[in-house]
């Protein structure tokens, strides 16, 4: 059933484009309904997982697609996929709710939005490399248009930069894919079979960095992260939420599912470098976020910093670190969505400024109390306060890193402190400025939050709190997946 997340999203997009309802209620209703259906399907599949511990993979659909090249239409799911499918469901529902005020060409907006979601579901559920690549590319077009048409600051630049970075990454992945296909005998793109077949260590040594970097571009690996802040800032709110929340996870997921699963020995060889880049990303993102004057850029750079934890966790090559990285993907997806929702929708659409110096004089916590609460929760989760999802995931990553490279774990710990620093700074400046320039009653007139905003915020806050308080919900489906035979070689550092 989980494969219907993909189909429903594309059907919803096609319906919106074909029918173009005049009535806004129909447009929004269709978009929300599609996103909700995806979330429900994802949750249902995750709740039943793992039905059988001996079979960590649920096959959803399998058919021959291009037989002469051994390409299959092969959809399947394990706990890692399902975690991210649920994340996509939550983020997409929240994104629709925070797009409630989009009036201009709304049918096209939501159609592109749903097409992007469909591509994302497709990547998370593909176990054929070619199919995964197709979905990965399909996602490029809608995200380009979402930013370039409905975006704000330097939108065309941001959109094109994002698209070109994605394409460069895809080009690297394509080379790795074709090479792996050729070396393995040109019979299959099936990821599990390729992983079982194994590759020579010489081949892995050069193929791993190509594929890993190709995917990691989209995960915001330093120094190829520069598309992320500009892209996030340029994008409309819901697209920023999806970009930071979900699209960056496409890259991290691909790096794990393809790069590390197929080339464990290559990962072993290269991991000091990529773990180091991950830590640089953590510290660099945090330091740059600390000095930004634009509210949205702070959040944009915080994404780079948080995704550094994902890369570090992946490169630990142990179950704790990799499991933590997957948790961090989920957690950051929720938190980034929340942060961008507050900045882009709740604050910017009302105050028409994102300059922290201006916001300081607006006493926003009194003008928009609910937004203040939401942002405080998001900041707490982002800093890794216990009780929120960010805590458990970053903790797992640091523990995993301690086992693998103690010095980097220490630096990552410093990164958490730096994260607290910029988060508290932005929280104070944006919402808790002391000296309102005008009476609060005057600024707050007619600016109450609408119900979709509240609903979206509650949904995201609930997700981060529930997972923070009861992380087993996710760990119980992530960890069994790491026990699968095809993941074991990776966790044994390529010795299997």
């Amino acid at each position: 059933m989980a494969s219907w997340t993909i189909y429903l999203s594309f059907i919803g997009a096609a319906l919106l484009l074909a029918v173009r309802p005049r009535d806004m209620r129909w447009v929004r209703g269709l978009a929300l309904g599609t996103a909700l259906a995806g979330l429900v399907l994802g949750l249902a599949a995750a709740a039943r997982y793992p039905a059988d511990p001996a079979a960590p993979l649920i096959v959803l659909a399998r058919a021959r697609w291009i037989p002469s090249l051994g390409i299959e239409y092969y959809l399947a799911a394990d706990g890692i996929s399902l975690t991210l499918v649920v994340l996509t469901g939550i983020a997409s529902v929240a994104g629709v709710l925070f797009s409630w005020n989009v009036e201009r060409r709304a049918a096209e907006y939501f159609a592109l939005y749903l097409a992007l979601i469909g591509g994302v579901y497709g990547v998370f559920l593909s176990f054929d490399w070619f199919l995964l690549f197709v979905f990965y590319e399909v996602a490029i077009v809608p995200k380009y248009f979402l930013i370039a048409i409905w975006g704000s600051t330097r939108r065309e630049y941001g959109a094109m930069k994002l698209a070109l970075y994605s394409l460069v990454g895809s080009a690297l992945v394509l080379v790795g894919m074709l090479a792996a296909y050729g070396v393995s005998g040109g019979q299959t793109f099936n990821l599990i079979e390729l992983a079982r077949g194994g590759f020579s260590s010489g081949f892995q040594t050069w193929a791993f960095p190509v594929v890993f970097v190709g995917f990691a571009v989209l995960a915001g690996i330093w120094p190829l992260h520069t598309w992320a802040p500009t892209g996030h800032v340029a994008a409309p709110t819901a697209a920023s939420m999806l970009l930071a929340g979900v699209v960056m996870k496409l890259g991290a997921y691909g790096a794990l599912r393809v790069g590390m699963m197929l080339f464990p020995q290559g990962a072993m060889v290269w991991r000091p470098l990529f773990a180091g880049l991950g830590v640089i990303g953590i510290l660099y993102g945090a330091c740059v976020a600390l000095v930004q004057r634009d509210f949205k850029f702070v959040i944009g750079y915080s994404s780079v910093s948080h995704m550094g934890f994902v890369l570090l966790g992946l490169m630990t090559l142990n179950a704790t670190g990799v499991g933590g990285a997957v948790m961090q993907m989920f957690s950051h997806g929720i938190i980034a969505g929340l942060l961008f929702a507050v900045v882009g929708r709740m604050v910017y659409d009302r105050m028409h400024t994102r300059d922290l110096a201006d916001l300081e004089g607006m006493a926003l916590n009194r003008v928009l109390p609910f937004a203040g609460l939401t942002f405080a929760v998001a900041c707490a989760a982002s800093m890794g306060v216990p009780g929120f999802s960010g805590f458990i995931s970053e903790l797992l990553v640091v523990i995993g890193a301690w086992k693998a490279f103690p010095p980097l774990a220490v630096l990552a710990g410093v990164g958490i402190v730096a994260g607290a620093a910029y988060t508290l700074r932005v929280l104070q400046k944006s919402f808790f400025g002391d000296h309102p320039r005008a009476p609060v009653e005057e600024m707050g007139r007619g600016q109450g939050l609408t119900w979709p905003e509240r609903a979206g915020a509650v949904l995201l806050m609930a997700a981060t709190v529930v997972v923070g308080l009861y992380p087993s919900l996710l760990l119980d489906i992530i960890m069994p997946s790491l026990q699968a035979s095809w993941m074991q070689a990776m966790l044994k550092g390529g010795q299997g």
Binding site: I66, I149, M160, A163, L167, A171, L174, V175, G182, G186
Partner: protein, 481 residues
């Protein structure tokens, strides 16, 4: 004698001549019906071509003419291209003072030349079929006699085309001088050896002549000017048909007739492929004219397709065939929109496309799909074609490292091309139009032709297997030693 094999070519030629004769008795206001008749006739011939099975190669005229799987594949492709080009011509010719029937007849003759080229198995037939195409195109390019750009394009095509023909015929003469025979050796004897200097120089000249047809570096200078100036249906036929015919001949010459020479020349061919990709893509970036942009991009696409030749394998040839079919669908759709979306005499500026999605959502969507397919984004056909071509090059890189840089250049070109193709899409969907313009009425014929192209772009992209199998079968007919 197996003259019956040439039925399709004969039928197309007869259709062209019949059209010219009928034109004498057709009143001026009924000329459009002649175009419809031509489309119907060509579609019938296309349907009839499926009566021929792709069995063992059959020869006619003492081996001059061959009908094998590859020839059949190309003929069907060219007939399809011809049908769409005629539909575009029917629409476009409303802006001519006179000459609808002549224009359609010339298109038919060009198609017939391309079909002969697909079956050429002899240097003489190669030259004659190329001339039949080229001479027809001299007229087709400059058909809008009252428009300066069209005349300028015609003169450029004439001069450079004549130069290319001179190269070609001189090359053929040298090859004949070196070997004493005009037939492609094929399976009746060994391929052209690399021994004689005369033959080598001759083959290089032939390559230059054919390179003009496909628009590869360094024989590409005409392409942007001619694409820009020629009437849109002519440009469509040049891009989709003439290029395909050039590749049909190139495949026969390089892979069948002179494989040893091709192997020896492989580094040069790789250089040409890489240079074409870079030149086409980089020059397309600053273009403001849609047809000129397509002209530069056609150079880049010729470069991509040369990737299928340099690997010197059947799989590479199959990739070219697949790519040509996909490229034809996309580029025909683009030129059809170019023929419909602009007023007579108006230059096809990309900024003028602003607001097209309001004037005609169908045309806007068609042009956008065509651009996205040309950029190679899945699930459209352009992606899978590029995938096949790159597959050959990357796999070849395992044997010879020098293919590595070629793959790198090709990927860099593909990434670059995204920039300008999406510039067009951006102009359609969200540039603010300078002035409100009336909606565009799309006639039923043009709409159907455009629909056929779009179905091809999407269907062959989502389900590439049938077209891929056809291409593999056709390439299987190549007698690669």
């Amino acid at each position: 004698m197996n003259a019956i094999l040439t039925m399709p070519e004969m039928a197309v030629t007869a259709l062209a001549l019949g059209l010219l004769v009928l034109d004498l008795w057709t009143p001026a206001d009924r000329k459009g019906d002649l175009g419809i008749a031509a489309i119907g006739g060509l579609a019938l011939i296309l349907a009839g071509s499926f009566l021929f099975g792709a069995g063992a190669p059959q020869y006619a005229f003492g081996g001059m003419y061959v009908l094998d799987g590859m020839a059949l594949f190309f003929k069907r492709l060219m007939l399809g291209v011809g049908v769409v080009a005629l539909a575009a011509a029917l629409e476009y010719s409303k802006r001519f003072a006179a000459g609808t029937a002549e224009y359609c007849a010339l298109i038919l003759l060009a198609v017939s030349g391309m079909m002969w080229a697909a079956s050429a198995n002899h240097w003489a037939l190669l030259f004659v079929s190329v001339e039949l195409m080229t001479v027809t195109f001299y007229v087709l390019v400059s058909f809008e006699r009252t428009r300066m750009p069209s005349l300028e394009a015609g003169v450029k095509y004439l001069i450079l085309g004549a130069l290319a023909s001179a190269f070609l015929v001189y090359g053929v003469a040298l090859v004949f001088g070196g070997t004493g025979t005009l037939g492609f050796a094929g399976d009746s004897g060994p391929g052209l050896g690399t021994g004689s200097v005369l033959v080598r120089v001759g083959l290089a000249l032939v390559l230059a002549g054919l390179g003009f047809k496909i628009g590869m570096v360094p024989c590409q200078f005409w392409a942007p000017d001619v694409y820009q100036g020629a009437p849109a249906p002519t440009a469509a036929l040049l891009a989709a048909g003439s290029k395909a015919a050039g590749f049909a001949l190139l495949l026969r010459v390089l892979l069948e007739a002179a494989p040893d020479w091709a192997l020896e020349m492989r580094p040069v061919l790789m250089l040409i492929a890489g240079a074409s990709i870079l030149y086409g893509n980089l020059c397309a970036i600053p273009q403001r004219n849609l047809k000129r942009l397509l002209g530069y991009s056609s150079i880049a696409h010729a470069g991509y397709m040369l990737l299928g030749i340099v690997v010197l394998e059947r799989a590479g040839a199959a990739a070219i065939l697949f790519y040509l079919a996909g490229y034809a669908c996309a580029v025909l759709a683009a030129f059809l929109v170019a023929a419909l979306a602009f007023d007579p005499g108006e230059p096809e500026e990309i900024p003028a496309l602003a607001g097209l999605h309001r004037r005609s959502p169908y045309l806007a969507a068609a042009l956008a799909l065509s651009m996205i397919s040309l950029a190679g984004i899945p699930p459209l056909v352009g992606f899978f074609g590029k995938f096949l071509l790159l597959k050959g090059v990357v796999l070849a890189a395992f044997d010879s490292r020098s293919f590595g840089w070629l793959a790198g250049v090709a990927l860099a070109g593909i990434v670059t091309s995204f920039y300008y193709y999406f510039g067009v899409v951006r102009a359609i969907y969200w540039s603010a139009p300078a002035a409100e313009r009336p909606p565009i009425a799309v006639s039923r014929v043009a709409g159907a032709a455009l629909g056929a192209c779009l179905v091809g772009i999407v269907a062959a992209g989502v389900f590439p297997s049938p077209l891929l199998e056809a291409a593999r079968l056709a390439a299987g007919a190549l007698r690669i030693p």
